[in-house]
């Protein structure tokens, strides 16, 4: 039942397997580069202050997109827009919740200062 003989596999499956493996490898290489870049910014002190924070945030966003694209296989193909919609809607809710929380708590903090 398991250990299927290769003849059982649809022709073209091996090429397809190579292609899918390559996709994971590309994802890994990109993720490694972005991670190394982010740690280099701080570890080597390439940037500081607001510029560093902006670059780090941007690198994290790009890396999240790389993970979604190459590991979770989310893309713009028509067949699974539903999932993309779900993710985008969740991200919208998250942004509202996170920015709202940070804003309100910061405001409270400022008012509490003597």
């Amino acid at each position: 039942m398991s250990n299927r003989v290769p003849a059982d596999i649809v022709p073209g499956a091996y090429a397809e397997e190579r292609r899918e493996r390559l996709s994971y490898v590309i994802g890994l290489v990109l993720a490694l580069a972005l991670t190394a870049g982010a740690f280099a910014v701080v570890g080597l002190g390439l940037l500081s202050g607001g510029a560093a924070l902006a670059v780090l945030g941007l690198l994290a966003f790009i890396q999240a997109v790389v993970h979604l694209r190459f590991f979770l296989h989310i893309d713009l193909e028509r067949s699974h827009r539903d999932d993309l919609m779900l993710i985008l809607f969740t991200v919208l809710i998250l942004l509202i919740m996170v920015s709202g929380t940070v804003w309100i708590l910061y405001d409270q903090h400022v008012r509490m200062m003597p």
């Binding site: 039942m1 398991s2 250990n3 299927r4 596999i9 649809v10 073209g12 499956a13 091996y14 397809e16 397997e17 899918e20 493996r21 994971y24 994802g27 890994l28 993720a31 490694l32 991670t35 982010a38 740690f39 910014v41 701080v42 570890g43 500081s48 202050g49 560093a52 924070l53 780090l56 945030g57 690198l59 994290a60 890396q63 999240a64 993970h67 979604l68 590991f71 979770l72 296989h73 989310i74 193909e77 067949s79 699974h80 539903d82 999932d83 779900l86 993710i87 969740t90 809710i93 998250l94 919740m97 996170v98 929380t101 940070v102 708590l105 910061y106 903090h109």
Partner: protein, 210 residues
Amino acid sequence: MSLSDRLHPGINLAGTDPESHEAAEEVLFGFWIFLMSDLVLFAVLFATYAAMSVQGIAAGPGPAEVFDLTAAFLETLLLLLSSFAFGFALLAMKYRENRRSVLAWLLVTGILGLAFVGMELHDYYVMVTAHGATPQVSGFLSAYYLLTGTHALHVSSGLVWMAIMAIQVAMFGFDKRVKLRLMRLALFWHMLDVVWIGIFTFVYLFGVTS
């Protein structure tokens, strides 16, 4: 059904196993909804941490004093390689249905995940012993342990799930249900790596920079 017919995100089984492929669409979409609700949990913890790490340090040590960037970098690599290894486990399941290679990839994934959790526990140990940075010292440290601890707990439960799946693969082989469960575990595992991007950036790197 052609090899390129895709019904859902993640590895699709079209071509090699059309029957499981048809069944996968619904359960995987349901699992995506769970993942997104889990992401909401993490977002709230991130928001709490964002406020606490700036305004809640009290008299305790700040982020730059207690964080070890080298350890955070190694943890990032461990989790990333673990995620990558799981991808290859799924490809071995999809194209070869070979128990031995799938189990070998799962073992690699599990060992890397276990090393990640071990390193995090070591981080906690160093923070507590060297800096006296326990959760009750300040709001910043409470939020830090809550956020990273929730993530570590997720990774740990993923490891338990992975062990159970390894047993199921060994016992039942590549039953439709086993395949669908492995595919959901893969989504869970990859999503935890995405959450970790947020943690290493907004907790560790932001903490040391500012």
